[in-house]
């Protein structure tokens, strides 16, 4: 059920990012309103996919107000069989739409800009990891979630209010492209075939391929949600009783934007003594800055300010920082020297 829940979250988040933030940039549109004028069917399709993701979340009780679904030990209640079947019927025809969306994303005029970066994601030998696994990277990292703090540290920097998380002092990438780079072979057959048909070699060093990775993950999430719903049998024990005891616990999942790590320390009454959460946005922060520098050097600074601004914004939005920061985030000051 948690995996299904996450499939819904991935579909909603990825579909919104692709259509509201990324695609307008690559079409040279100011925003999604302009994109609708050029690509109305693609935007409508994106919204249909996103709405199906919402329906998955709703099935599991994740209403947007007073969510009642997930709780310690499991879920408040198991979804009704009839509702699960209805949802399955709604999701099935959308796999084809997700396929078409992935092809549409792969055909976007994405800049061809290869960079050297480390991809970090959860890995599980039996599945495309979402809710469990070890932390792995394409540079040999392989650790359990309890060892996160030994290898990763957050720091503050004078020029930003955002924390930056580093792996052994270096920037790294989390999120759809990092996951695809590490776990491609664990995708379902249908998604792998789709990926192979798009003319992109995976793993990819081009961060702009993130938008295609997101689209492929939408296809994966539909395929996986359908598989889970087809096998669904309600349980009489949707959650286990958790007895409070003192200790330290860790949690790690793949949120839509990337790895999300938690550490909680409880006392014997179950009250939180200390908590630390490292969200994907802080993990990508240093990578975004590194990418900005490399991308703009590759783009060439001998251009109009507006063009440079546009490219810089495209680079940042490509990482899917949260929507409110991603629309007005760049204070560009160019100091040109002869």
């Amino acid at each position: 059920m948690r995996r299904l829940f996450y499939c819904g979250e991935w579909i909603v988040s990825h579909s919104l990012h692709i259509h509201l933030l990324a695609a307008p940039d690559f079409f040279g549109c100011e925003n999604v309103i302009e994109l609708v004028r050029r690509e109305p069917d693609a935007v409508r399709r994106g919204l249909r996919l996103q709405e199906a993701g919402n329906a998955i979340i709703e099935l599991l009780g994740g209403r947007s107000v007073h969510p009642v679904g997930a709780r310690v030990g499991g879920f408040s209640r198991a979804p009704d069989v009839e509702q699960a079947r209805e949802l399955l019927g709604r999701l099935k025809p959308l796999s084809v739409e997700a396929e078409a969306m992935a092809a549409w994303c792969a055909a976007l005029p994405l800049p061809g800009d290869s960079q050297d970066f480390e991809s970090v994601a959860l890995f599980h030998p039996d599945e495309y990891a979402i809710t469990r696994g070890r932390i792995r990277s394409d540079r040999g990292l392989n650790i359990g979630k309890e060892a996160f703090e030994k290898h990763f540290s957050e720091r503050q920097v004078p020029h930003s209010t955002a924390l930056q998380c580093l792996h052994d002092g270096q920037p790294y990438l989390v999120g759809p492209l990092a996951r695809l780079n590490l776990n491609f072979d664990l995708l379902p057959e249908a998604t792998r075939q789709l990926a192979a048909s798009l003319g992109i070699a995976w793993p990819s060093r081009n961060v702009f391929h993130s938008v295609v990775a997101r689209a492929l993950e939408v296809h994966f999430a539909f395929t996986e949600a359908i598989r889970l719903l087809e096998a669904y049998i309600p349980t009489p024990t949707p959650h286990l009783t958790a007895e409070p005891r003192a200790g330290v616990g860790f949690g790690i999942t793949e949120a839509p934007r990337g790895m999300l790590w938690h550490r909680f320390e409880l006392d014997d009454r179950g009250q939180v003594r200390s908590a630390r959460m490292v969200p994907p946005t802080s993990q990508n922060q240093a990578r975004i800055e590194q990418d900005l520098r490399l991308s703009l050097q590759a783009f060439g600074m001998d251009r109009e300010d507006a063009e440079i601004r546009r490219r810089a914004e495209t680079v940042v939005r490509n990482y899917d920082p949260c929507i409110s920061c991603a629309t007005h985030f760049l204070d560009l000051r160019i100091d040109r020297r002869e």
Partner: protein, 148 residues
């Protein structure tokens, strides 16, 4: 009736209004929906209704406690400066729905100016909104949307 808000501070207004309107109308004809920062999800809620009233907190510089009432055509223009407190805001969602030709025939926004309003002010504005919504529903009446 789409009541937009969040559980935080004065932004709870929309949720309070939804609570106050609960079970007041025939559910087959009038849906009262509480939306916690819906963003683009608002499009889904707008779809299929012949008339929609939205209530949300707005910021325009007017004194706390002011309740603005905007009709369809005034909404996008006004909201360009009167931003809602949420990320992909109301203005963007309405503009997107308009572009997709998915706006309901009638659309009204009740925008509550709250800022640092006291609990009493929020309660007073919520009450005013509830009675305006009741009057509006009576005004558009059953004959204005016979298909429901």
């Amino acid at each position: 009736v789409l009541c937009i808000g969040s559980p935080f501070g004065t932004d709870r207004l929309g949720l309070d209004v939804a609570e106050a309107l609960k079970n007041r109308f025939d559910a087959k004809r009038v849906a009262v929906i509480a939306c916690d920062r819906p963003g683009a999800r608002l499009l889904e809620d707008l779809r299929g209704a012949s008339a929609v009233l939205l209530i949300d907190a707005v910021r325009s510089g007017a004194p706390a406690g002011t309740l603005h009432r905007l009709q369809t055509d005034a909404i996008p223009h006004q909201l360009q400066r009167h931003t809602s407190t949420h990320g992909f805001g109301l203005a963007e969602a309405i503009a997107l729905a308009r572009e997709l030709k998915e706006l309901p025939e009638r659309l009204i926004l009740l925008g509550a100016e709250l800022g640092t309003a006291t609990t009493e002010t929020v309660d007073r504005v919520a009450q005013a909104a509830v009675s305006q919504i009741g009057e509006w529903l009576a005004e558009i009446g059953p004959e204005s949307h016979p298909e429901t």
